[in-house]
């Protein structure tokens, strides 16, 4: 029977939740890396035992962790698991994220816009998102704050910036969102290894069609009334983008305000908020088998980051947007004031499709019937930063 493994990053450690295909009885493992902020944990599609985790701390900075046994044991790439390595120069620098400052490409990469509109140098703060390659367990991408994308081809031991993103020309116009200037979304195209999409708060969405060498903004159709030019090429606070792998190029976006879709790989966007009670939010995801079925968790507003009216409701559209239904069975419908952050929803590929999300209050909810009903797997974790799920044979 198939199994699922849910990888949960929280403000104080990581947790691994496992169940069989019925998704009724769960085992909880953790906390891993107790006391550290775990922004993201994700498994390799090419080798489900290979997991990557971003571990960070305001005191001690960034650490990258890797598991080669499905989360049972972990080590920092380049250091032997479980014991100090032999004396001598370290062979790797798995937490060394150095922005490209080469003479050739450094000049346009020097500054971005600060909160007050002045220019500010790029400063590495943390890894928000790790996206393992679809085909090679040793290749993994990292989306970082201040916004940039890095790639490792040796299992996370060494990282190199894909500097064409920051350097394509609009970098000086990017500015931090409330959570920092983070690159939080990386989507790989299963039908075209040269194509990927990323999203940045607050710059917008970008696409490469040549494996990361060159990038272009893809924000036509976005309207953000909180920036000086609401239809600017960049500057939009995109919160998350999702795609069903069976339909590369059809993208769904939760912007700061507005839920959007694109049917042309991001070249243009249309608003699909429809009858949502509020279209501010962070997460968005797509059903594994029904590419027109999408999920969001509306949040009251940009000033009040909790669900509307004290009710935790997932909204589902079976029509690719505009027509939404509230999913409430099993979710608290009074006195609930949690948030669901941008990387904190995931879908499995079982039939029926499982949906998972984690809250700022430490609950992780699961639905084994595509959202019709929900149960909490755990209720009292630290605030959840990210949720990913692996469907295992």
């Amino acid at each position: 029977m198939s199994k699922v493994r849910v990888l949960v990053g929280t403000r104080k450690g990581a947790f691994v939740l496992t169940a069989d295909g019925k998704r009724e009885k769960w085992e909880v493992s953790g906390p891993h890396f107790a006391g550290w902020e775990m922004y993201h944990v994700k498994g390799s599609p090419a080798d489900p035992n290979r997991l990557y985790a971003s571990q960070s701390s305001g005191w001690f900075g960034q650490i990258i962790q890797r598991s080669d046994d499905g989360g049972k044991t972990w080590h920092q790439p380049g250091t032997p698991p479980g014991e100090p390595p032999a004396p001598g120069p370290p062979k790797a620098a798995s937490n060394k994220f150095v922005y490209d400052a080469s003479d050739e490409t450094g000049k346009p990469l020097t500054t971005h816009q600060w909160y007050d509109g002045t220019q500010h140098p790029w400063e590495f703060k943390r890894v928000w998102h790790m996206e393992p390659s679809l085909t090679d367990p040793d290749t993994v991408y990292a989306g970082v704050e201040d916004a940039a994308i890095f790639r490792s081809t040796d299992g996370g031991e060494n990282w190199k910036e894909l500097s064409g993103l920051r350097g394509h020309g609009t970098g000086p116009k990017w500015q931090p969102g409330a959570g920092g200037m983070c690159l939080h979304t990386i989507i790989l195209d299963p039908s075209n290894p040269q194509r990927m999409w990323i999203a940045i708060s607050a710059a917008g969405a970008f696409r490469t069609d040549d494996g990361g060498k060159s990038w272009k903004p893809i924000n036509r159709g976005l309207y953000s009334k909180y920036i000086p030019n609401p239809t600017a090429e960049v500057g939009h606070c995109v919160h998350h983008v999702a795609m069903n792998p069976s339909r590369p190029g059809v993208l769904f976006m939760q912007k700061h305000w507005d839920v959007m879709r694109s049917d042309d790989a991001g070249d243009s966007w249309q608003k699909i908020s429809g009858n949502l009670p509020t279209d501010f939010g962070f997460v968005i995801d797509v059903h594994a088998h029904e590419p027109e079925t999408i999920y969001v968790v509306p949040i009251k507003s940009d000033a009040e980051h909790f669900v509307l009216d004290g009710k935790l409701r997932v909204f589902r559209s079976r029509t690719g947007g505009n027509e939404w239904e509230a999913l409430t069975n099993g979710l608290p419908q009074r006195d609930c004031y949690v948030n669901v952050l941008r990387d904190a929803m995931a879908v499995d590929s079982l039939d029926k499709c499982g949906i998972y999300f984690g809250t700022s209050g430490g609950q992780v909810y699961a639905s084994a019937d595509a959202g019709d009903s929900w149960v909490p797997i755990v209720r009292d974790l630290p605030g959840v930063l990210s949720v990913e799920v692996q469907t295992l044979p």
């Binding site: 006391g35 550290w36 701390s57 305001g58 005191w59 001690f60 900075g61 960034q62 650490i63 920092q76 380049g78 250091t79 479980g82 014991e83 100090p84 390595p85 004396p87 001598g88 120069p89 370290p90 062979k91 790797a92 620098a93 937490n95 060394k96 994220f97 150095v98």
Partner: protein, 98 residues
Amino acid sequence: MIRVILPQHLRTLAHAGSEVQLEVDGAVTQRSVLDALEARYPMLRGTIRDQVTRERRPFLRFFACEEDLSHELPDAPLPDAVTSGKEPFLIIGAIAGG
């Protein structure tokens, strides 16, 4: 033998106890002690000093012999009591919230 006291999270990363003992060649300074520490425990690289600038991370402080050495120059000699191993060199996380 130089004694270094690590904060809890770095002990976990290094798979070490609260105190580690290091051989340091030449002058005993903040830089030479931290170089020796990172050579023996490369998993600590970047957690005490910035990977690029090699400067002390802002929320960490260095103490020895009941003195705050955080703002001393990295190549200044450490107190004799640290050099002799009588007193440890302490790496401490600044106190700041949960």
